[in-house]
């Protein structure tokens, strides 16, 4: 088994070396150079492409998925645990229950969600699939068999 793991690792290592020789960009900063707090408007400091990621915008949550394709940028401020709070794998607690102290955040499922989910799930069930389609669905089984 160990050997099976090793071969792809070595191949990947070689590929990395090859690529390293060709391109010539500097990686995105690993740690964001300025500390920020709360939902920030990136345009307060940025005029480059990052200015668009205004975290306060009403459509920010709807857009962050595509920006998430440039994960290194998010990683300069967010650890994976931050994403996992909402993009849970198998969790018991609603994101809004974990952070009752942050009502300004757009955390999924405010209020009594067992009631409201019948409405949201009817209007746009596709929006649930992103988090409950293949993961985070043990609770659903209790009622939807």
């Amino acid at each position: 088994m160990k050997r099976n793991n090793l071969i792809p690792m070595v191949v990947l290592g070689l590929v990395v070396q090859l690529l390293y020789a060709c391109a010539g960009t500097t990686s995105i900063a690993r740690v964001h150079p300025e500390p920020v707090q709360g939902l920030v408007d990136c345009a307060q400091c940025h005029t480059d492409r990052w200015a668009n990621l205004n975290h306060r915008a009403p459509d920010f949550l709807a857009k962050h998925g595509v920006w998430g394709g440039t994960r290194a940028a998010c990683a300069s401020c967010h650890q994976e645990s931050f994403c996992a709070d909402c993009h849970a794998h198998k969790d018991d607690l609603k994101p809004s229950d974990k952070y009752k102290d942050a009502p300004e955040r757009a955390l999924p499922h405010r209020g009594d969600y067992l009631n409201q989910h019948k409405i949201d799930g009817r209007i746009d069930p596709a929006s649930c699939l992103k988090c409950h389609g293949r993961q985070n669905n043990e609770g659903c089984k209790r009622c939807h068999r």
């Binding site: 857009k63 209020g111 043990e138």
Partner: protein, 445 residues
């Protein structure tokens, strides 16, 4: 302590436990080795302990007094050439102090992510091994496996991944091998365009096959478009087209619009939860949805924002619905944030005609943070036999920041709605954050 079903099924010849233990051992070995090259080592860990007190979610429910422990660990070593190696892990443990809360078990645990990451200082090269969330175009997948990305010459970039999907599967058996990749072209001042694909197998059966394009356009200052279209090549149909545009002509004003089109037959293909599968007839495979929306937000000062939004839902089978409303928000993260919002849903069913109100406030007083949140949904007609016409929730939370490391607090939650008369629940929370840094000689920065 880890019960077996909290893991995804290990694919044949690739036992998950071994892989994880192996990964962690290798990580530690690598992190301890090569001290000569290391510039700094940063260790950070957070522990959050939660106690949930009160009844469960259901009418017949038992007392749920449950303790949760969320642990997060990051050990990261940076080298002189700008490269770094990190071990990142996060997971939770649960213990029921009264009745069993779920799955007929008193304890449960889960590893949400746990991987070793090697990042190079050049070309945005990353190699990750372990349990991670991959977000590359059509793939938003949690998997146990390998992920590799790099910039290529002339603005191109590529990402590849291979692993075993981490799915919770209460109803259907799922896939056990997934792989795919994304190829991008970026012009940092104008755009990022991507093409991506994902393939998965359940043993030797084709399970999922998805291809897609994604884009992020920001051609001139203030204009930003993001979007994705994905195609299911097993059902041979488009799953989704999802596009969002925003225009910020002035720093204070933002206009936005969005479009989502979903073909249920292709989109809900092979989900592992019955609530969202075709089997229990809540989801009709012949349904198609088109949602169009837009709005504007205006921020006269740095802290104040007024916004209005509108969304129209159109279906092939179900009746259409409109959702619209507005919000007034004030945010100054250092001492106060508050807001009020009102929305109206106008749909074809009784359940889809209501007014929704929300008011919240969060304020810091010295070392204490207070938060209050009120939500009321008023239906036009009664939905249940008990004549209750609204769903109301009030919650209040207090957090005390003892020091930079330690904080504790609690919250109380009251709700009444057509399903439950009066429900009160509480939660206690204790967080501890640990951080340590060791800089090697000459590595001061």
């Amino acid at each position: 302590m880890k019960s077996h079903d909290s893991w995804s099924p290990p694919p044949a010849g690739f036992p998950t436990l071994f892989r994880l233990v192996g990964g962690v051992t290798a990580a530690c070995a690598l992190l301890v080795a090569a001290p000569a090259l290391a510039e700094t080592t940063l260790v950070s860990a957070t522990s959050t302990t939660l106690f949930r007190i009160g009844h469960g979610d259901f009418q017949d429910s038992k007392n749920i007094d449950t303790a949760y422990e969320y642990l997060r660990l990051s050990v990261s070593r940076s080298f002189k050439d700008g490269d770094s190696l990190s071990l990142l892990a996060g997971g939770w443990l649960r213990g029921d102090l009264a009745d069993k809360s779920a799955n007929d078990r008193f304890t449960d645990a889960d590893l949400q992510y746990g991987y070793l990451s090697y990042q190079r200082g050049r070309n945005n090269q990353v190699l990750n091994a372990g349990r991670q969330l991959v977000t590359e175009g059509v793939a938003t997948e949690r998997m146990d496996g390998l992920y590799l990305r790099s910039d290529l010459p002339a603005g191109f970039g590529a990402a590849l991944f291979l692993g075993s999907p981490v799915v919770t599967e209460p109803n259907f058996k799922a896939d056990n091998l997934v792989f795919g990749g994304r190829f991008t072209h970026t012009q940092a001042n104008y755009y990022t365009l991507g093409v991506s694909a994902l393939k998965s197998y359940q043993d030797s059966t084709r399970y999922r096959e998805e291809e897609g394009i994604d884009l992020w356009l920001h051609p001139v200052r203030g204009v930003d478009v993001t979007g994705r279209s994905s195609y299911n090549s097993i059902t041979e149909g488009w799953m989704e087209h999802s596009y969002r545009a925003s225009y910020t002509p002035l720093t204070q004003l933002r206009l936005f619009a969005n479009l989502d089109s979903i073909n249920y037959r292709d989109y809900f293909f092979r989900v592992t939860t019955s609530a969202l599968s075709f089997t229990n007839r809540l989801i009709d495979p012949n349904e198609k949805m088109l949602a169009l929306g837009g709005g504007a937000s205006f921020a006269p000062t740095d802290s104040l924002t007024v916004s209005a939004d509108y969304r129209h839902y159109d279906y092939d089978i179900a009746g259409a619905a409109d959702y619209y409303g507005g919000k007034l928000g004030f945010a100054n993260p250092k001492y106060l944030s508050c807001g009020v919002a009102v929305h109206r849903m106008d749909g074809a069913a009784d359940r889809l005609r209501y007014l929704e109100y929300r008011a919240y406030a969060a304020k810091s007083i010295g070392k204490a943070d207070l938060a209050l949140d009120l939500i009321d949904v008023r239906y036009d007609s009664t939905l249940a036999t008990n004549q209750v016409k609204d769903a109301f929730t009030a919650s209040a939370a207090v957090t005390y920041r003892w020091s930079d490391q330690l904080s504790f607090g609690g919250d109380l939650d009251y709700s009444h709605n057509p399903d439950f008369d009066n429900e009160v629940r509480g939660l206690l929370k204790l967080s501890y954050a640990f951080e340590a840094k060791r800089a090697a000689e000459g590595g001061a920065k």
